[in-house]
C-alpha cells in the first residue's frame, strides 16, 4: 500500500496508484493552453493496464503528448495523416494504444491512452491542448473536465487568467453539488487571476469512508473583461495582432425570425418534448419589434402563419398553442421546409414589410437527413443558396448523431450563419434556448474590420453579417513590422439606420511590458489565436470549396499550418514514439466529427483589410471660421487660474 503524508491508505495492494493528477491552465487574452499530467504506480504484483483518459473540448487542438514508462520516454510529433499511419504501422507499440475518440459529453472528445505496465513500474502521462475562449451570453467559460478516476495523493488544478483589458467579473460556480465548497481558492487582481483547486485525499473521497473519488466533473471558471472602447481592443504582440470586438450599450435591432422545426417521426419522444419546451420560452423572449413565424415539417411542410407577424403577446401565445399540438410523425423534407421559410422572408422583403433596419434569421432544427423530396444534400444546398436573399442568415441546429453535421455546417456557412450540434437528451431544451439567446440580440449589421496603410497581412475573416450582443468577434493577422509603430483599425458597421465608424489605435509595444511581467503569460498567444482562427476558418472554407483544385489548395494550407503550429487537426495525426523509434502509437482525430463545434458564432468573409468603405470617410467638419482670433460665438468655462473678469 502507499500511504500519503497523512498516513491514509490510498489504494489497496492490487490497484494502480494515482500518485499525482495535475492540471495547469493558462488563459492569455482568450487563448487557453492546458496541460494535464498524471503519474501512476503499479503497486500490484501483476502487470496492470494504466489508462489516461482525458476529456477535452471539441474545438481544442492537441499540441503535445508525452509518456514516460519506467524511464522510457515517448514523445509526440505531428504528421500528415497518411504519414502518421505509415509510421505507426511500421512499429506498433506492444501493449500500448492512444487515440482521440468522440466524447460522450457535450461538445467534448476524449484523448485516451492505455499502456500495460509491469509490477512496480511508474508511468507519467502529460497532454497539452489549446483552445480559444469564445464569449457567449456576456461571459467566457473555461471548463476543465476533471476525471482522475481514483483518489490522487496530489491533486492540483491551477488556472491562471491574464487579460490585458482587465476583468469585469470572475466567478467559479459550484459544479460539484457543494462537495468542494470552499476548496477552490480565487485570487484576483485587475488584469490577472489565479484559481487553485487542491482538495486533500480526505476531501476527494465521496464520503469519509469511501475509496471512490468525488472529483468527477467540471471545474468551471466564468469571467468577462472590461470594455472601454466601442471599437474594441486591439492587441499587438510578437508580430501578430488580435482584435476583439464586443460593443454593448446599444438597443437591439429588430429581427425577422423563422423557426423551421423538424417534426418527423424520429423526433418522437424527448427530442420533440424538449424542442417544444424550448420554443415556448424562446417565443416568450421575442421582442415586440421582432417579427416571426414557425414552419414545421416532416414529409409535408406546414406553417403556423404563411407570413411574418409581429411578436405581440397574443401572437406568441397563439404560436405556442400551435407548437404544443404538434405530433411528430413521417419523413423529413428539409428542402421544401427551407424553401418555404425563405419564400416567406423574401416575400415580406419584396413587399417592403420588413423594417429596413432589421436583420433576418432562419433557425433550422433537425435531427436527421432528408428522406422525402430532394435527398441530395448538395442539391438542397444549391437550392437554398439560389433562393435565399443576402439579408438572411441561416443557423442550423442538428440534434443527435443521425444528422449529417457537415451538411448543416456547409448549409449555414454558405448563408451567413453557423451550425451547432445539439445533444438529444434531457437538456436539449436548455441547449436550444442557449443557442437562441446567442443570436436573439442583433446589435449591428455589416461589420467590417479595416486596417489601413497596408499595415497587416494574412488577416482572418474580417467582414461579418451581424454582431450579436453578448458575443465577441475576433479578427487576427500579421502586422507589417517595418510599416508603423502603431496599428490603426477602422471598423464600419450599421446599427438601426445609423452608420458607425469606430477607430482605435494600438502601439506595437503596448503589451511588451505587461506580458513580460507575468511568467504564466503565453508570449505566443497572438500567433496561436491567429493560427487557430485561420485553421478553423479554412476548415469551413474547405467544405465549401467550389472546385477540387480550390479544395486541394486549402487542404495544403491547413496541413502546412497544422504542421507548423504543431497541432492535431482533421488533417494531421499525432505519432507517439519512444526514443529508439521502434515503439509507436497513433492518436488520430475522429474521422468526421472534429470539424464540429469550434464554438465560433460567426462565419464571415474576407475583404481587403485596407479598403475602408467610401462613406466611412465623412468629410471633415468645415473648418470653423475664426475671423477674430479665438472669438467666434463661443461659450467656455476657463479654469480659474486665468486672469479674467470674474463675475461681479
Amino acid at each position: 500500500s502507499v500511504s500519503g503524508e497523512s498516513g491514509e491508505i490510498v489504494e489497496d495492494v492490487d490497484q494502480v496508484t494515482l500518485y499525482s493528477y495535475k492540471v495547469q491552465s493558462t488563459i492569455t487574452s482568450r487563448m487557453a493552453s492546458t496541460v494535464i499530467q498524471a503519474r501512476v504506480v503499479n503497486n500490484s504484483p501483476q502487470p496492470q493496464s494504466a489508462v489516461f483518459d482525458v476529456q477535452i473540448p471539441k474545438g481544442a487542438f492537441i499540441s503535445n503528448f508525452s509518456m514516460t514508462v519506467d524511464g522510457t520516454t515517448f514523445t509526440s510529433s505531428i504528421k500528415e495523416k497518411t504519414v502518421g499511419r505509415a509510421l505507426y504501422s511500421q512499429a506498433r507499440a506492444k501493449g500500448k494504444t492512444a487515440g482521440l475518440v468522440r466524447g460522450r459529453a457535450l461538445d467534448m472528445e476524449n484523448f485516451k491512452t492505455e499502456v500495460n505496465i509491469l509490477p512496480g513500474a511508474k508511468v507519467q502521462f502529460e497532454l497539452h491542448y489549446q483552445e480559444v475562449k469564445w464569449r457567449k451570453l456576456g461571459s467566457y467559460e473555461h471548463r476543465l473536465h476533471l476525471q482522475p478516476g481514483r483518489l490522487a495523493k496530489h491533486l492540483e488544478v491551477d488556472v491562471w487568467i491574464i487579460e490585458p483589458q482587465g476583468m469585469r467579473f470572475l466567478h467559479v460556480p459550484d459544479t460539484f453539488d457543494g462537495h468542494f465548497d470552499g476548496v477552490p481558492v480565487i485570487s484576483k487582481g485587475h488584469q490577472k487571476a489565479h484559481i487553485s483547486f487542491k482538495p486533500t485525499v480526505a476531501q476527494q473521497r465521496k464520503c469519509s469512508s469511501c475509496s471512490e473519488t468525488a472529483v468527477d466533473g467540471e471545474l468551471v471558471v466564468m469571467y468577462d473583461v472590461n470594455r472601454e472602447e466601442k471599437a474594441g481592443e486591439l492587441e499587438v504582440f510578437n508580430g501578430y495582432f488580435v482584435h476583439y470586438f464586443a460593443p454593448d450599450n446599444m438597443d437591439p435591432i429588430p429581427k425577422n425570425i423563422l423557426f423551421v422545426i423538424d417534426v418527423s417521426g424520429s423526433m418522437w419522444g424527448i427530442k420533440m418534448k424538449q424542442t417544444v419546451e424550448a420554443m415556448k420560452t424562446i417565443l416568450d423572449d421575442l421582442r415586440a419589434e421582432d417579427q416571426f413565424s414557425v414552419v414545421d415539417f416532416n414529409h409535408n411542410v406546414r406553417a403556423w402563419r404563411n407570413d411574418l407577424v409581429s411578436a405581440t403577446k397574443t401572437q406568441t401565445v397563439d404560436a405556442k398553442k400551435y407548437i404544443e399540438k404538434i405530433q411528430p410523425s413521417g419523413g423529413t423534407n428539409i428542402n421544401e421546409a427551407l424553401l418555404r421559410a425563405i419564400f416567406i422572408l423574401n416575400e415580406a422583403n419584396n413587399l417592403g414589410l420588413l423594417d429596413p433596419n432589421s436583420v433576418s434569421l432562419i433557425i433550422l432544427v433537425s435531427d436527421g437527413d432528408p428522406t422525402v423530396g430532394e435527398l441530395k444534400l448538395s442539391k438542397i444546398q444549391k437550392n437554398v443558396k439560389q433562393n435565399i436573399q443576402d439579408n438572411i442568415s441561416l443557423f442550423s441546429l442538428g440534434i443527435g448523431f443521425d444528422v449529417d453535421y457537415d451538411f448543416l455546417k456547409r448549409l449555414s456557412n454558405d448563408n451567413r450563419g453557423i451550425a451547432q450540434r445539439i445533444y438529444g437528451n434531457q437538456d436539449t431544451s436548455s441547449q436550444l434556448k442557449k443557442f437562441y439567446n446567442q443570436v436573439s440580440t442583433p446589435l449591428l449589421r455589416n461589420v467590417q474590420f479595416n486596417y489601413p496603410h497596408m499595415s497587416v497581412m494574412d488577416v482572418t475573416q474580417n467582414s461579418f453579417h451581424n454582431y450579436f450582443g453578448g458575443s465577441e468577434i475576433m479578427v487576427a493577422g500579421k502586422v507589417n513590422p517595418d510599416k508603423l509603430d502603431q496599428l490603426q483599425s477602422i471598423i464600419t458597421a450599421t446599427s438601426a439606420n445609423t452608420e458607425l465608424v469606430l477607430e482605435t489605435l494600438a502601439e506595437m509595444d503596448d503589451l511588451e511590458d505587461f506580458l513580460s511581467k507575468d511568467k504564466h503569460a503565453d508570449p505566443d498567444f497572438t500567433r496561436k489565436l491567429w493560427a487557430y482562427l485561420t485553421i478553423n476558418q479554412l476548415l469551413a472554407e474547405r467544405s465549401l470549396a467550389p472546385t477540387a483544385a480550390a479544395k486541394r489548395k486549402i487542404t495544403r494550407t491547413i496541413l502546412q499550418m497544422s504542421l507548423d503550429h504543431h497541432i492535431v487537426t482533421p488533417l494531421t495525426s499525432m505519432v507517439i514514439e519512444n526514443e529508439a523509434g521502434d515503439e509507436r502509437m497513433l492518436a488520430d482525430s475522429p474521422p468526421q466529427d472534429h470539424s464540429c463545434c469550434s464554438g465560433a458564432l460567426y462565419y464571415g468573409s474576407k475583404v481587403s483589410p485596407s479598403s475602408v468603405p467610401s462613406w466611412a470617410n465623412p468629410a471633415p467638419t468645415a473648418m470653423i471660421p475664426m475671423p477674430v482670433i479665438g472669438a467666434p460665438v463661443v461659450e467656455t468655462t476657463p479654469p480659474t487660474h486665468v486672469m479674467r473678469v470674474e463675475n461681479d
Partner: protein
C-alpha cells in the same frame, strides 16, 4: 459657465457668466422653426470656494426634430437616440456616427462634433480634471460657429445672438483695478458698465487655451441678453424655451 459672444459685424467679443445651482438646465439654442434645440445642465464643483460654489456644464442635450434625434453628451459618455433606438459611445472612443443628415464625430477624450447637413456644426469639448482634485469636476464646453442656417426667431442664451444686436462701446477708461479698464456699452437701448478682461478658447490648445480678450457684462449678462438669465431655465434637457 462663462459665455463669450463674438459679434462679427462690430468685431467685438462680449462675455458674461452665469452661476446657478447644480442640476439647473439652461437653454442655449431654441429654434422652433427648424426644430433645433441645445440645452445645458449645470454641475457644481465638489465644494464652494470663498463661500461660492462654481457651476459648469456637466451635460449637454441636442435635439434635431426633423431627424427625431437626440444627442446627450455628459462628461462620461455620448448617447444617441433616434426614435426609440438608442446607442451610446464613450469618451474613450474614436468614432463617427452617420445618421443621414447628422454626423456625430467623437475624438477620444477630446471633442464631440455634431454636424447637421454638413453646414451647421457644434463642437463640445471635454475638460477632464484630476479625479482627486478637492474642488474641480469634469466639465464641458460648447462652441457654435457663426451660421445663417438658424431661423430668424432662434433664441436662447446663445441662439439669440444669431441675430447680432447693435452695440456701441465708448468712454473707455482705467477701471478701479488698473489692470481692468472699463467702458460704457450701449446695447438694446441700455447703457451698461463693461470691464475689459480675458477668456479662453480651448479648441486649439485643450490644456491652456487661447486668450480671448472681451468686454465683460456684469450681473449675469443682464442688459446684454434678453430678459434675465433665469428666463432661460427649462425643466427638461429636451425642453424648448418658451420666449417671450
Amino acid at each position: 459657465p462663462h459665455f463669450i459672444i463674438y459679434l462679427p459685424n462690430s468685431q467685438k467679443n462680449i462675455c458674461f457668466n452665469i452661476d446657478s445651482e447644480p442640476g439647473k438646465i439652461l437653454n442655449l439654442v431654441s429654434d422652433l422653426e427648424s426644430g433645433i434645440l441645445v440645452n445645458g445642465q449645470l454641475v457644481g464643483a465638489k465644494k464652494p470656494k470663498n463661500k461660492k460654489l462654481s457651476t459648469y456644464f456637466g451635460k449637454l442635450g441636442f435635439y434635431f426634430q426633423s431627424e427625431d434625434m437626440k444627442i446627450e453628451i455628459s462628461t462620461e459618455n455620448i448617447t444617441l437616440s433616434r426614435g426609440s433606438h438608442r446607442s451610446s459611445l464613450s469618451w474613450s472612443d474614436t468614432a463617427h456616427v452617420i445618421n443621414q443628415r447628422v454626423l456625430v464625430s467623437v475624438k477620444k477624450v477630446r471633442t464631440v462634433t455634431i454636424t447637421l447637413d454638413r453646414e451647421m456644426s457644434f463642437s463640445v469639448l471635454l475638460h477632464r480634471v484630476w479625479k482627486k482634485h478637492p474642488t474641480n469636476v469634469d466639465f464641458l464646453g460648447i462652441y457654435i460657429p457663426p451660421t445663417n442656417k438658424f431661423s430668424p426667431n432662434t433664441h436662447g442664451l446663445l441662439g439669440q445672438f444669431m441675430n447680432e444686436p447693435k452695440i456701441h462701446i465708448f468712454n473707455e477708461r482705467p477701471g478701479k483695478d488698473p489692470a481692468k479698464p472699463e467702458a460704457i456699452m450701449e446695447v438694446k437701448g441700455q447703457k451698461l458698465l463693461v470691464t475689459r478682461g480675458l477668456q479662453k478658447d480651448y479648441r486649439t490648445d485643450q490644456v491652456s487655451g487661447t486668450d480671448v480678450p472681451c468686454w465683460f457684462v456684469h450681473n449675469s449678462g443682464k442688459g446684454f441678453i434678453d430678459g434675465q438669465y433665469k428666463d432661460y431655465f427649462v425643466p427638461q434637457l429636451y425642453s424648448f424655451l418658451k420666449w417671450p
